[in-house]
């Protein structure tokens, strides 16, 4: 019985990492679509997003099975409940990555010029997603906290991007629609950063039993 339980827990762990890997791949495809205007990447991204949705349902059913059949307690229970929360964040990351690609594809958006810091935002959020999955894989508090701190950086970058885009809007020569698209993309990246932070917080919760939101 316990043997089955630990097998199921291991499976949950592996599936969750796989889902994290899919998220990483999705967001890096989104980056390719945005920066390199690579239509093949967009096609791959759609597949990844579908795979992420399927994984979410699979992990959900594993979690529910674990909860109903094994009634885990203490840290096991935390692991399962954290997994349940993390998959929603991961699923959102997948969705937002494909949303970014969709904006680029439908509006034939050019890669943003270097004076708009969307590229930096994209790179940092990519790193955050990677690190949050790393933190889960290694059950590492330090990495998790790094991710949580990095979110401030993304927020600051978003403010900067917003300011630059506002200036652009006032400039008569630039296309207003494009500027707004950039703002949307920046917002999506900011959201992805938030989701990565959420994942990191759930990792922290599953290790310590303390959720970031509870303090202060």
């Amino acid at each position: 019985m316990r043997d089955l339980f630990s097998r199921q827990m291991e499976k949950l762990h592996v599936e969750l990492i796989e889902m994290g890997a899919l998220c990483e791949q999705a967001i890096s495809r989104a980056y390719q679509v945005l920066m390199e205007e690579d239509p093949k990447a967009a096609e791959e991204l759609r597949k990844k997003d579908a795979a992420i949705d399927a994984k979410e349902r699979e992990i959900e059913s594993i979690c529910l099975k674990l909860l109903l059949q094994q009634q885990p307690v203490a840290s096991d229970l935390r692991q399962v409940s954290a997994a349940l929360k993390m998959i929603t964040d991961m699923e959102r990351i997948g969705d937002q990555a494909s949303d970014i690609a969709e904006i680029v594809q439908t509006t034939h958006l050019k890669a943003p010029s270097t004076d708009i810091k969307i590229k930096e935002m994209a790179q940092i959020t990519q790193r955050m997603v990677s690190k949050s999955v790393d933190a889960y894989v290694k059950q590492d508090l330090i990495i998790a906290r790094q991710v949580i701190q990095e979110d401030d950086l993304v927020d600051r970058l978003f403010d900067e991007v917003k300011r630059e885009l506002v200036e652009r809007l006032q400039d008569q020569n630039s296309s207003g629609e494009q500027t707004l698209d950039y703002l949307m993309i920046a917002k999506y990246y900011e959201r992805i950063g938030d989701h990565a932070t959420n994942i990191a917080e759930w990792v922290e919760f599953s290790i310590t039993g303390q959720h970031e939101g509870e303090q202060g």
Partner: protein, 553 residues
């Protein structure tokens, strides 16, 4: 063990008790009944004598005084007296066998069991002198009731024996087994508790030795494996169907994990890299495969092979090789061949172009020398290019046949200076050699080429009225060195590494204005490799370049 001992013990004891009981009973009983019969016989004889002597009235007196039954029967069978019953109510006894036999032979004896077998009656009859028969009947317990009366005791005894036997079996088993349980199986021959156990212990000892040898062998194999895998430069991961079985140090470093984190866990804990997973999945379907993997800016080659045990795929072995350098060399080689064909084609095309114009009579006769001159210069460019390529390929092979001798560098530089003096003058550039004579063991021709190419470049890429200084001497470490300094256009910092590549030019236009093949510095680099020399570039754009060759560094 205990149960068996107990059972055997009980069977043995109970059998012994029962047998003893029966045989003893039988023996005692037969003795006893003989005694009784004798007594009855004697009593009857005495009584008969007394009756014969004192008359039949005596029977009544005697019958009342004995516990045996006394009967006096008339010769016709009528009972005259009985000590138990009334004589008149008794039937005629003439048919009784003891009576008949007593009448015939004077006396008779007979034993009869009662209906219930509980008692046995012994009859003794004597014919008196007057023809009457005196019978004495003695009753006593039969053999069965005799045995039966002892039975209760025997059963009690057996019960007692059972209890004692149980206790005894318990103790015996414990005592027997204790030394066996406490055997030191590591050294079985040192504590032979029972001689009977010795063959077993001997076998255990042999087995122990065998196991020890095998363990030792396995340990050694394991150590060998560990030594090989831990110290190899390439990453090695061994997996089962899904989990990592072992991962060596190089692979741990490469994927930034520790063995503790991923051994016996899914391969995904090692790396979430898609290529790795795909390589493993493919290997697990039985196909060996290889693919390239990018990690932290370096290129790795993944070789995944299935492991088959009894024809079934039980896992996979993944080898990770760092092929960054190889990859780089590969691209360089490709670039080189592309460049060579391009560089060779350009002069050829112009030669053939000029020749074609002349052939078609499109050139005025007075212009022909000019065209011939162009053809000549292109042809000599081509031949110098081919010459350079030959030199380079010779250096590439690091031909053993290159003659190594002691070469004096100062004189060598002087020679180069003399050779280039004219060209320097054309551009109004001062060239000079300074320093001390130094001897280096090397190939004179190659060293000459090196210095020549360096100085040639120094003149070519100099500004008008510039200077070229050749210094010969020793470094602080007493290593021989040559330094060529110019006041030319210099090399940008990020290109200083690349100028030694073949056909590489800082000026990407491949302009022919300065001439040159683009192979000069490449020859210098390969010459330096041949002489174990180190090249040091120090250059500031628009100020000048200083290139130092340090030998034996």
């Amino acid at each position: 063990m205990k149960r068996r001992i107990f059972r055997n013990e009980v069977i043995l004891v109970v059998l012994a008790v029962v047998l003893t009981f029966f045989s003893m009973s039988w023996f005692m009983y037969s003795n006893l009944s003989e005694q009784m019969q004798e007594n009855a016989r004697d009593e009857c004889r005495i009584m008969a004598y007394a009756v014969n002597t004192y008359g039949e009235e005596y029977v009544e007196t005697a019958g009342g005084r004995t516990h045996n039954r006394v009967t006096l029967i008339d010769s016709d069978g009528t009972v005259l007296y009985d000590s138990v019953e009334e004589a008149s109510s008794m039937e005629n006894h003439s048919g009784r066998p003891e009576f008949e036999r007593a009448v015939q032979s004077g006396s008779a004896q007979l034993s009869r069991f009662s209906d219930t077998l509980e008692t046995q009656t012994y009859y003794y009859a004597i014919r008196l002198d007057n023809g009457d028969v005196l019978r004495l009947a003695s009753s006593f317990d039969s053999v069965f009731s005799f045995i039966f009366s002892g039975m209760a005791g025997v059963i009690l005894l057996i019960l007692a024996i059972l209890i004692v036997a149980l206790m005894f079996a318990n103790r015996m088993t414990r005592k027997l087994v204790e030394p066996i349980n406490q055997l030191d199986l590591e050294h079985p021959m040192e504590n032979v508790a029972y001689d009977e156990l010795e063959p077993l212990l001997k076998r255990i000892d042999q087995q122990q030795n065998k196991i020890g040898e095998q363990v030792e062998q396995m340990k050694q194999n394991q150590e060998e494996y560990m030594t090989i895998t831990e110290y190899m430069k390439d990453g090695l991961i061994v997996t089962s169907q899904s989990d990592v079985l072992s991962i060596n140090r190089s692979a741990q470093e490469l994927f930034d994990v520790t063995a503790r984190e991923c051994v016996n866990h899914n391969i995904i804990t090692v790396s979430r890299n898609q290529e790795l997973k795909e390589a493993l999945d493919e290997a697990l379907t039985g196909k060996s495969n290889e693919r390239l993997l990018e990690v932290k800016g370096r290129t790795y080659q993944l070789l995944a092979n299935p492991v088959r045990v009894n024809g079934q795929i039980s896992g996979a072995v993944i080898l990770v090789l760092d092929v960054t350098e190889k990859q780089k060399a590969e691209t360089m080689r490709k670039e080189f061949s592309a460049n060579v064909s391009h560089e060779l084609k350009t002069p050829l095309m112009s030669i053939s172009g000029y020749a074609e114009i002349i052939e078609n009579n499109l050139v005025k006769p007075e212009d022909i020398p000019k065209f011939a001159g162009r053809i000549h210069s292109e042809a000599s460019r081509l031949s110098s290019l081919v010459e350079d390529i030959i030199k380079l390929s010779r250096l590439d092979e690091s031909d053993k046949s290159i003659l190594m001798e002691d070469v004096e560098l100062y004189q060598l530089c002087k020679d180069v200076e003399g050779q280039l003096m004219l060209r320097a003058k054309e551009r109004n550039i001062q060239i000079g050699v300074e320093g001390l004579p130094v001897v280096v063991h090397g190939a004179r021709q190659v060293l000459y080429e090196m210095v020549y190419n360096l100085c040639d470049n120094a003149i070519k890429y100099n500004k008008p009225d510039g200077k070229v200084k050749i210094s010969v001497g020793c470094t602080k470490n007493r290593h021989p060195m040559i330094r060529v300094e110019d006041t030319g256009i210099g090399i940008p910092k990020d290109e200083q590494e690349r100028v030694f590549e073949r056909f590489y030019r800082v000026d990407k236009s491949h302009s022919r204005a300065t001439g040159g093949t683009g192979l000069g510095l490449s020859i210098v680099k390969h010459g330096a490799i041949l002489h174990d020399a180190k090249i040091d570039v120090d250059s500031t754009p628009d100020v000048g370049t200083s290139i130092t060759i340090e030998f034996g560094a």
